[in-house]
Amino acid sequence: MDRATLRERLEAVVGAGGVVADPSELVVYEYDASDEAIAGRHRPDFVVLPETTEQVAAVVRLAREYGLPVTPRGAGTGLAGGAIAARGGIMVVLTRMNRILEINERDRYAIVEPGVINLELSTATLPRGYFFAPDPSSQRACTIGGNVANNSGGPHCLKYGVTSNHIMGLEVVLPSGEVVWTGGPVPESPGVDLTGVLVGSEGTLGIVTKVMVRLTRNPEAVSVLLAPFPTIETASNAVSAIVAAGVLPAALEMMDRLSIQAVEAAFHAGYPTDAGAVLLVEIDGLAEAVAESADAITDICRQHDATEVRVAASAEEREALWFARKAAFGAMGRLTPNYYLQDATVPRTQLPPTLQFVEELSREYRLRIANVFHAGDGNLHPLILFDRYEKGAIERVLRAGTDLLTYCVERGGTVSGEHGIGLEKKDYLTLIFTPDDLAAMAGLKRSFDPLAYFNPDKVFPTSFSCGELAAVKAAGVPVSGGLGLEDVI
């Protein structure tokens, strides 16, 4: 590759200010929000910051011509290494495409560029009576494009569903260089649901350049309850009882004692530091229904030994409780130099034994583990606290993580609920999928990207035992190197 020529050609597309090529500046793009000891770090050859769809398409065509991998990236808040340039090449950073292009209340959608920050969208639409339902905890920083790539979740997914349920259409630059619009303001577009396939594909099938998101009407009434419990076990039993009772809250979140301590040290939001765990429950909908559900949930919490059930008295109090909950990961800095944030889902009835297992792991591996998670969805987020300079710590953290994922799968769960597979989790997919399952996914990948140059080395497993490897190869799954350009160009 003639580096100087390529740089000139990239600059001709996005301007000199849109290309990063200096190694000292590229270093900040070597990682995302995943722990580098776990997902690794890789330097892209170039970072480009396009401002238009046409520029993205032109950059993609150049990458194709030069046989270089393309890695799309938003704010870099991903937790699984999905936005790391695993094989170098060109990283396409979409943060300059950050305009809200249209808000259409009558047809309940907005069209945004991928670099729009999640919270900014709802901030813009809330006064008009609408919101964008997916609300990952990183919503003050993460981009809508990143939400699409990862099919992001968030507390309110319990009632409203994940990102995929709220994406109506996408403008996307395909690996072929073609720019297409999928979906649109009306459901049931004939043909394959390309929108649905692209959401959650972690930038391996295309680069999204515009997103048509569904806006949800603000509910008539909202109520937030805070219920402290003596133990994490009593709290998780209450969660199972609430779900089983046929009451569907908008959000049902749990924090354990360690998390509460971190959050209170950082924000003083009013969480009781002496509780073993707290549940944060939001109920919304028609006023009468909200009142009834709040009563029902209060009763269930009391039956399961809640020490009290407090109703947030004002919008400000609700905000403060939610702010602290969503900033809990950041607050962990009060407790630890490093943490490994795990993400797994179990069927909701399996929460009590799974949380007990987390406690056992904590003892077995001599690691403090904080739990702050979307209990109503069965989506666990154990934060394994460690110090990366302590000898052997990383190994224990990784072993605890593997044990946890294995346990969750045995209980009918899965290896990632909302953070994605990226680099971090790809070798765990064989816990849940057979070589034939993965081969079908690889067929999907091939249909979009036969050259395998979009976000290579992500999602698909690369390390296997010998026997597994043979089976996987026989089933036609691209394995280590198989997704690399050198093999196909």
């Binding site: 997914c157 569903g161 390309l194 006023a287 609920g417 849940i432 081969a439 079908a440």
Partner: protein
């Protein structure tokens, strides 16, 4: 795609070949499986996933064209079949595989009917909200393949949005799964969305996992009559923009009202309320208030009357094919729906056709049925196909289907759809020619 066609003697020997390879699989009378008036040479009814796999692998190997069947209620959807050797009846695969009531999840085999699933869930106070005209016939697999969803999509989303896991058999006989049994899952690609709505052109769905929801404990329907479409639309929009949260908003014209056995009116609007008992009466009252100024008459249908009423509306919206009749669905954003509906009415009345029109104001879909001579119906479809964001010929006589693309205009991204078909079904074994662009 041009898959070509084979000589009949060739077909006979390959079918014998298939019969040998699928030995032990139950047979059915092929004359019960017509598609576009074409009959298959053989009809197989596998009882296990292994048998589905064996049948498909054998057919694929022999180059035979397979049409998967559920209850057959929506076999009219799709382009005219270009070859049809084997009917694969999946109704024997009808078990509830796993139901975890306290997790609000269920796994069912594809051949389970909508009615059977609903009875099962009702015992546990749960639902999977599906609107179809023939619930005793329509199967879960068939609904997923067609990707059709009725008016409650507005309140609950489509089956697409409740689907959390899937098992399919690929044309070569491989069993492949996606997703799982948990409500939040980003492990691997979203294969559910790939197969949903792909009309069985990529794989045969054998099992689907869903998140279910608590069964609403109380229902009401506000049913109002209007003298004009404009007035009906203003009322529908007032409620759609409000916080009153109905689960469906549908308008029907006089002809469709006759099919749904509703009181005669130029336009009728039904608004469905599903909520806890403590809230539902007031919800219906407030909705009735909100539309009162526009409506000529308003009534509130009680809990027991609501389900049958919507069943009749589904009959108008999701009507079975009939002689000399076409059914067309035109999509238009809710704010554009009136303009598009007026254009549909104008096109059809200019051809002396009487349109029975059902408008799903929640989602932005207009359904029309009309009867006439084939030549006139083809002209009608040609005109309707130009309207809205997209248009689909849902049901039509075979003669009309043979000379048109039933999925209307080619969507963007079609090259990728073609690549998917080539990757998943390279020999064109499944539903040959029936999917969009004859894929």
């Amino acid at each position: 795609m041009d898959w070509g066609s084979r000589m009949s003697s060739d077909r006979l020997s390959t079918v014998r070949n298939l019969e040998a390879l699928s030995d032990g699989v139950a047979r059915r009378d092929p004359s019960a499986y017509p598609v576009d008036g074409v009959l298959p040479a053989v009809a197989l009814a596998p009882a296990t996933v292994e048998e589905v796999s064996a049948c498909l692998a054998a057919a694929d190997e022999a180059g035979l064209a397979v049409v998967p069947w559920g209850g057959g209620s929506h076999m009219a959807l799709g382009n005219h079949v270009s070859a049809y050797d084997v009917a694969l009846d999946l109704r024997a695969l009808n078990a509830v595989v796993q139901h975890e009531p306290d997790d609000l999840t269920i796994a069912v085999q594809a051949g389970c009917t909508v009615a059977a699933l609903d009875r099962h869930l009702a015992n546990h106070g749960q639902i999977l909200p599906i609107d179809v005209a023939q619930p005793e016939r329509a199967t879960i697999g068939g609904l997923l393949a067609t990707g059709l969803a009725g008016p409650r999509r507005f309140g609950y989303g489509a089956l697409r949005d409740l689907l959390i896991g899937i098992t399919v058999v690929l044309p070569r006989g491989t069993v492949a799964r996606g997703g799982g049994m948990v409500v939040k899952n980003v492990s691997g690609f979203d294969m559910m969305r790939l197969y949903y709505g792909s009309l069985g052109s990529l794989a045969v769905i054998t099992q689907a996992n869903f998140k279910v929801i608590p069964r609403p404990r109380a229902q009401r329907t506000v049913l109002a009559r209007f003298s004009s479409l404009a007035a009906a639309a203003r009322a529908a929009e007032a409620v759609r923009m409000s916080q009153l949260a109905p689960t469906a908003i549908v308008a029907v014209n006089e002809a469709a009202a006759r099919q749904a056995d509703l009181p005669a009116a130029a336009w009728s609007v039904g608004l469905r309320c599903e909520a806890p008992p403590v809230a539902v009466a007031r919800q219906a009252e407030r909705i009735a208030e909100a539309i009162g100024a526009e409506a000529a008459a308003t009534e509130v249908i009680d809990h027991d009357g609501t389900e049958p009423l919507w069943q009749r509306i589904n009959l108008a919206l999701d009507a079975a094919p009939a002689e000399q009749t076409i059914g067309v669905r035109v999509g238009a954003a809710p704010s554009q729906l009136v303009t598009v509906a007026e254009a549909m009415i104008a096109s059809l009345t200019a051809l002396d056709l009487e349109p029975a029109l059902t408008l799903d104001f929640g989602s932005g879909l207009a359904y029309v049925r009309t009867a006439g001579d084939p030549g006139v119906l083809l002209r009608a479809w040609d005109e309707l196909a130009r309207l809205g964001a997209h248009a689909t010929l849902l049901t039509a006589p075979a003669a009309i289907k043979r000379s048109t693309e039933v999925f209307g205009r080619e969507p963007q991204g079609f090259a990728t759809m073609r690549a998917l078909k080539a990757e998943f079904d390279p020999r064109g074994t499944l539903n040959r020619g029936r999917f969009i662009g004859n894929l």
